[in-house]
Symmetry: none
């Protein structure tokens, strides 16, 4: 009586161990239906129809796997365990000969396999898989898998190389272009879609507006990244406080969102009389050449920085705010503006405690 071992699936517990996404879809509870009714493309969720039932455990099945209509979990289970040695039971002599036991039923050896009990007994689950017709010959061998993986890896590398080559060519052309040479009418040579290759054409926020990852210039990308408190944020709405959004919108949307705006200074700051001086024009200089050995993004960043200086006007041009050299120098000297790579929060940290979130956002 004490050793009475019942089949694990015999007691009908209605406890669903894991409500899988698939089954919940088929059952369509109200909350689920409400949530999934919005997105039309359920293809991203699961490919295939899913109107079949796993012969082994009764879960939702999407296709044949190893010659049997079976669910994703039984598919993975069979691939993992099909080649394990099976002990038929404690009483069998084969146990002694095998010298080890991989799978042994802890119950009476005829477990009912359903969605809940399938994890209780590996042996009976595997037995059922085999007896219902799963073929271990359809599992790829070690060499076959290795060969296939290598092909995929090589292909990825090749594609990446080609893309890099195109990008570098484009950048070189842009940098070596002389002044008299006419600017090609390509105002957005490097778009976001190339920097962040996204398979799907939708936006990251599922709105399918197509605005994201398509044609945003590098400047727009950077400014958007820097402007958002979180990288996860949708590109459409940056949820800062509402007032700030409005204020920002007034300033930024007037001209170009690319040009950074300069915060107003306290009136008693620095030598205000310097601002009243006349701007003495300096001699004009040659355009800067940025070494191409640098990382591409560094080149672009510096290029961007230099672009903010109007050498002809000898002024720092920024929207309708004009900052002259003296003012700039004063701000720098007072440590009020500085390039980030000089900032200790990035490349050199003086802090003992590392707090990435605080640093970056």
């Amino acid at each position: 009586m004490l050793n009475e071992r019942s089949s694990p699936g015999s007691n009908a517990t209605t406890t669903s161990r894991r409500t899988s996404v698939c089954s919940s879809i088929s059952e369509r509870p109200d909350s689920c239906a409400a949530s999934t009714s919005g997105d039309s493309n359920s293809s991203s969720k699961k490919r295939g129809s899913g109107n079949k039932i796993c012969k082994v455990c009764g879960d939702v099945s999407y296709s044949f796997n190893f010659n049997l209509i079976s669910c994703e979990s039984c598919k993975a289970f069979f691939r993992r365990n099909a080649f394990k040695k099976v002990s038929i039971g404690c009483s069998s002599k084969i146990v002694i000969y095998l010298n080890y036991i991989n799978l042994r039923c802890p119950f009476s050896g005829n477990c009912e396999i359903n969605l809940i009990s399938r994890r209780f007994c590996q042996k009976c689950r595997l037995d059922k898989c085999i007896s219902l017709g799963m073929k271990k010959e359809l599992i790829l061998s070690e060499e076959e898998r290795e060969r296939k993986n290598k092909m995929v890896r090589d292909k990825r590398i090749r594609i990446k190389k080609e893309r890099e080559l195109v990008e570098r060519k484009k950048l070189e052309r842009a940098l070596t272009r002389t002044e008299n040479e006419p600017e090609p009418k390509e105002e957005k040579p490097l778009c976001e879609a190339k920097l962040f290759p996204v398979n799907k054409s939708e936006c990251c926020c599922k709105c399918q507006c197509g605005k994201y990852s398509q044609d945003r210039s590098l400047e727009e990308i950077f400014s958007s990244i820097l402007g958002y408190p979180n990288l996860n944020t949708s590109p459409h709405q940056q949820q800062t406080s509402p007032q700030q959004i409005n204020l920002e919108a007034n300033i930024l949307t007037s001209a170009t969102t690319n040009i950074p705006t300069i915060p107003p200074l306290p009136s008693n700051f620095g030598n205000s009389h310097l601002l009243n001086e006349k701007i003495s024009p300096m001699q004009q200089s040659l355009p800067t050449s940025i070494p191409t050995s640098m990382p591409l993004s560094a080149q672009m960043a510096i290029q961007n920085a230099l672009a903010n200086f109007n050498f002809q006007q000898n002024q720092y041009q920024n929207n309708n705010l004009i900052m002259n050299n003296n003012m700039f120098d004063s701000l720098m000297a007072n440590g009020l503006i500085k390039p980030l790579y000089l900032n200790n929060t990035v490349f050199g940290t003086t802090q003992n405690q590392i707090q990435p979130m605080d640093i970056m956002y």
Copy 2:
């Protein structure tokens, strides 16, 4: 009579083992209450959700154990005592046959089991475990445990042996190398062990597997950093305990304070596999000329920025950290490093209120 409980097995428990997306949405109040009740510290203390309640004693539960939602203590209790002989009472004949009594209720045999009283009576606690559906068959047998432990031991020994072999090979090569013979171009010039000098040979997670801090290249380190949501994550699992964070911080700051800290990325952001590819060296270029019409401080700043790039080595040199172009590009593209003049906290402000100090520091 003895088994009279408030609600033994009759009530169909609708508890889902793993709350799916849909059901968790529908069960929002529960999860909300559980998440808000705990501190942020306590959440990192224990892995798993912990929003369940032990059916046996009412303590917090993190998962099913032996087919019953139960706490850690009841789990351990059941494993220890499930195979002990149970005396159902003095009147039972089985007591005589068993010749000894392991578990006997000191009270009337129907103890209420809660978080406090669970220690008082082993028998009633075990009875409750069994009656609520715990399956002793799911406890690994002696030989299964032995086999598993042996496998773990063997694996550790094997990994350690392999590591020692590599070390010895390396040492032999170094010893047989003559002095005029050039240093071989080591494919992993800077390994993790050099970056993060760890005295002990073990892994940070005490497993002594030896996988960590030994031979990982910089690319591997960075890709792992980018792949993991947290810098301090164990290389084996993504679980952070406060102690590990502190330890890791100490290690990091002591070794290289200049390594840029990387905030956690959204898991679906970017293609982290890009980092694993080989470095394609770019052609060397001439030193940069900075236009003299710029503000002096700006010239110096850019000069300083450029000085951080080692054009000869085609690398970004920063103390003992060598970052290659691909890595740099990836970090830039992901917005993880950026020059400050692109940062809206300097040139572009989202605030209307003038707060230079807050903006700058």
